[in-house]
């Protein structure tokens, strides 16, 4: 039975979770991004028609794009050669390159710091061009790091760095982490296991946490410092000028075509780091807004540039039919709708990010290459390669797998010592105590009312409508009133059993009253005649006949009352902000979004309910040993 229920939870968890996982996977904002950058030649003094590009995961990714497109060799923004092909890890030029691939500047200055960081931290010279590659002993250093998924909150010490285990699989040196603008070493500053990194001291609030996976990583951008993965005695040198292989865009270079494509897609629509060039000229990637407000009637707008592509709400307009241009003044055939997004893209726009298509404002001259200095694209879903992986990595599942819940059980119960009020068992006992107290009160009130109703008929007529009306008031609305009243009476409701006891009693007394009245009236008329024949007093008749006859009914309603009183006690705990009981724990976990813990609490509550009802059953067996059945109550004579 339990096993079947648990087994059923798996398909239910998948049924409810997979659509969310699929959404999560398809949402581009969750994808990992990767940047395609110009590939500097790996050897500073390389020349001739074959230039080494080196090999690293980052380089391989770019090279794979170059193989599909057409590579271009550039120095800075100057095109040196087009029609470059890739052969393994080498770029093959149509004509040999004369002179070295990179002209190196002065050595970097070592930065003084902790002794264990000596030989790792260097400062770039101020004269270094931005983003210039570094060479160590003539060989290119590859920059690379991976970021942690969690944000530093000042307290967290464990971080997940997806892909870290794979990236550092071959690394035997101690790993280096960059926390904010400081570098820390594995062993002294942190420990790592798989993709998990545990720091010795918690990174400061909002400090970016990265792990170096390449040869080096920027350390403090403002100070122009870098940190190397491995210490060196010789300082690296920065390339003052260097040649690089870049991705040429594919398309028809006929002097008329303006649509070209990038290889790595989908593109980021807005990418401040995207640098595209036509020949030696860099294209402006921004767009311009008109000087005038788009009010729905105005047709003439002024832009900063006198050229470019015009779009309205992302839709490209055609010059000549949709609008006429006179310098930087554009006149529309029809006024754009009020508040429409009217933009001019001076040089190009991304016309289809999913296929990597860009449209240039002016067609390049024949033979003039269009090439990308750098751009960013969505590389892969951040949550995993398949929807199922995304399902598994979801931080919150609508319904968790039972084994996940099972894994949480021990830590859940042992998270706090029993002396701590956050201990689950302690909280459970607290709520159980509240419920039992409320049940005792509820039973007392219920039985007294029932006796009153049966003995004094006018009482029933006068009070019964009120008793019924009392049960139509939702407890959730009642508790705040109760809390206010108790607060005024000086009761500290946050740490008091009183609200739970009152609310539980308020709920539990009703079934007890109804059950007891039914029981007291259920007496066999012949049994009453017997009492009469014995000339028994009314009190004797009540104690020896009516009351014992009502006991099974009383217990049946007490079982209903126990379950209801528990719910009442939980609601009261939550609404009186009492953190000592189970009710607050449930709400706390729901708000924290820990579904597995919520399920554990759900099972605990259910077990508590079953336990309370069983306790009533046990009491029944002690008090009413003549009973043959559990829940059914009395069934007349034997």
């Amino acid at each position: 039975m339990v096993a079947a229920l648990l087994a059923l939870m798996y398909p239910v968890a998948l049924l409810l979770g997979m659509p969310l996982a699929r959404q999560r996977m398809e949402n581009l904002s969750n994808w990992e991004r990767a940047t395609v950058a110009a590939l500097p030649v790996a050897e500073a003094d390389a020349s001739g028609s074959r230039l080494p590009l080196g090999s690293s995961p980052a380089v391989d990714a770019v090279v794979s794009g170059l193989q599909g497109g057409s590579a271009v060799l550039v120095r800075g923004a100057e095109v040196l050669a087009t029609g470059v092909t890739i052969d393994g890890t080498e770029a093959v030029l149509p004509a040999p390159l004369s002179g070295p691939a990179a002209r190196l500047g002065a050595s970097l200055e070592p930065v003084a710091g902790p002794t264990d960081m000596s030989g790792r931290v260097y400062a770039l010279p101020e004269s270094a061009p931005p983003g210039a590659p570094l060479y160590l002993d003539g060989s290119l250093l590859v920059s690379g790091s991976l970021s942690a998924t969690e944000r530093a909150d000042g307290a967290r010490v464990r971080f997940t760095v997806p892909g870290l285990a794979d990236a550092l699989a071959d690394q035997t040196d101690t790993a280096v982490a960059v926390v904010g603008a400081a570098a820390v070493l594995e062993g002294s500053g942190f420990e790592r296991e798989g993709d998990i990194v545990a720091f010795a001291s918690a990174p400061a609030f909002n400090a970016p946490v990265r792990l170096i996976t390449g040869d080096y990583a920027p350390l403090d951008e403002a100070a122009g410092t870098i940190v190397l993965a491995s210490p060196t005695s010789e300082a690296p040198r920065v390339a003052m000028e260097h040649v690089a292989v870049v991705e040429g865009l594919t398309g028809t270079y006929d002097g008329e075509n303006r649509d070209f494509r990038l290889q790595h897609v989908p593109l980021l629509e807005r990418d401040p780091g995207r640098r595209l060039y036509v020949g030696d000229r860099e294209l402006l990637s921004g767009d311009e807004r008109p000087a005038e407000r788009v009010d729905g009637t105005l047709r003439v707008f002024t832009f900063a540039s006198d050229h470019g592509l015009v779009t309205v709400d992302g839709r490209q307009l055609v010059e000549g039919s949709d609008y006429e241009r006179d310098g930087n003044v554009v006149t529309f055939a029809a006024a754009p709708a009020r508040n429409a997004a009217l933009r001019q893209h001076p040089d190009y726009l991304v016309s289809d990010a999913s296929t990597g298509t860009i449209t240039l404002a002016a067609a390049p001259a024949p033979g003039e290459p269009v090439w990308a200095g750098s751009y960013t694209y969505y590389a892969r879903p951040g949550c995993g390669a398949t929807a199922f992986e995304c399902f598994l990595s979801m931080p919150q599942h609508p319904v968790p797998f039972p084994n996940w819940v099972a894994e949480r059980i021990v830590p859940f119960f042992t998270a706090y010592p029993f002396s701590d009020s956050r201990n689950v068992i302690r909280a459970t006992l607290y709520t159980a105590a509240g419920t039992l107290v409320s049940l005792a009160f509820g039973t007392l009130i219920g039985v007294l009312l029932a006796v009153l109703f049966v003995r004094v008929r006018p009482f029933e007529r006068a009070l019964l409508p009120w008793v019924i009306a009392s049960q139509t008031i939702p407890v959730i609305a009642l508790v705040p009133v109760l809390v206010a009243v108790l607060g005024n009476m000086g009761v500290t409701v946050q740490t008091s059993l009183v609200p739970a006891a009152i609310v539980g009693a308020y709920i539990a007394f009703f079934p007890v009253t109804v059950g007891t009245v039914t029981g007291l009236r259920s007496v066999d008329p012949l049994a009453l005649d017997l009492m009469k024949a014995y000339a028994a007093s009314p009190l004797q008749s009540f104690l020896k006949l009516r009351f014992p006859a009502a006991v099974p009914y009383l217990f049946t309603s007490l079982k209903l009352g126990a379950a209801a009183a528990l719910v009442g006690a939980l609601v009261a705990e939550v609404e009186s902000n009492n953190r000592l009981g189970l009710g607050y724990a449930i709400i706390g976990q729901v708000q924290a979004g820990d579904v597995a813990d919520v399920w554990i609490l759900l099972v605990i509550s259910a077990l508590l309910g079953i336990g309370l009802v069983s306790l009533v059953g046990l009491l029944q067996r002690l008090v009413a040993p003549w009973e043959r059945t559990g829940l059914a109550g009395a069934d007349g004579d034997g």
């Binding site: 066999d524 012949l526 049994a527 005649d529 017997l530 009492m531 009469k532 024949a533 014995y534 000339a535 028994a536 004797q540 020896k544 006949l545 014992p548 006859a549 006991v551 009413a624 003549w626 043959r628 009395a634 004579d637 034997g638």
Partner: protein, 280 residues
């Protein structure tokens, strides 16, 4: 040992009983007259609706008559009830299911305030008498119907009333159990010398048990005839096979059917005291 023939234990004179049924009325009993002497075993027999049970309930003061006069042991029925003059055995055993067998038997003693030790002693005696001493700790549902009814008889005898009112106590039992119970009841009656009023609709049972049979007819409930039963005591299983038994059952059956009869009843009434004396 002859019965004392001083004053009747029960005297019913010109009693009418009318129940309101909805807006109309139902006459349960009309002009009922009956005297039950000390030591009598009187059976009330008749078809359903003839007022047998009503007559019993009137005697027991469980209902009050519309008209007429009833005395029980020379008192009003109410006084007699309050003085606990009679024990009553209902159609159903009416055992309290939350009490063990022995606690059911001690119930009247508890109510009447007998001392605790004495109560249990008395209850054990009675359970032994009805053959249920081994079941004193059982709950009623653990007993068969016949056993339950024996417990209810023991309970009725618990406080040793002189008069025992039994309303179809064996009605729900099968024939075999019933005959065994009949023998047992006769034995009890002879041992305890009580006056018994016994409601039944079994002719054989009435003839076998009674010293007198009151034959009643329905719509409206009336006492048609009182038949003296002159079968000798002690009666045994063989009594049922005697010729006189068949004659008497025939006489009762005819009385029930409303057939006219000769002076058969008169001589037997005259003979009856003699016969009974001879029986002892």
């Amino acid at each position: 040992m002859a019965p004392a023939v001083t004053s009747p234990v029960i005297s019913v004179r010109a009693v009418d009983m009318v129940f309101r049924v909805g807006k109309g009325e139902a006459v349960a009993l009309e002009d009922a007259n009956l005297e039950v002497m000390d030591g009598d075993f009187v059976s009330l027999i008749g078809p359903s609706g003839c007022g047998k049970t009503t007559l019993m309930r009137l005697v027991a003061d469980l209902v009050e008559p519309t008209a007429g006069e009833i005395t029980v042991a020379g008192k009003t029925p109410r006084q007699a009830r309050e003085d606990r003059e009679y024990g009553y055995v209902f159609q159903a055993p009416v055992l309290y299911e939350w009490r063990t067998v022995i606690a059911n038997v001690t119930l009247p003693l508890e109510i009447m305030g007998h001392p605790k030790g004495r109560r249990r002693e008395r209850a054990r005696e009675l359970l032994k008498m009805v053959g249920l001493e081994r079941f004193e700790r059982s709950y009623p549902w653990q007993l068969s119907g016949g056993m339950q009814q024996r417990v209810s008889i023991a309970r009725a005898l618990a406080f040793d009333p002189k008069l025992l009112l039994m309303d179809e106590p064996f009605g729900a039992l099968d024939e075999i159990t019933r005959e065994a119970m009949n023998l047992e009841l006769l034995r009890l009656w002879q041992e305890t010398r009580k006056t018994v009023v016994f409601v039944t609709h079994s002719i054989a049972e009435a003839v076998f048990l009674s010293s007198r049979i009151v034959v009643m007819t329905p719509r409206p409930g009336r006492i048609r005839e009182v038949i003296e039963v002159d079968l000798p005591y002690p009666r045994t299983a063989e009594t049922r096979e005697s010729e006189r038994f068949f004659e008497l059952t025939t006489q009762v059956r005819e009385a029930l059917r409303g057939a006219p009869h000769g002076g058969g009843a008169a001589p037997s009434a005259a003979e009856q005291p003699l016969q009974r004396t001879a029986g002892y």
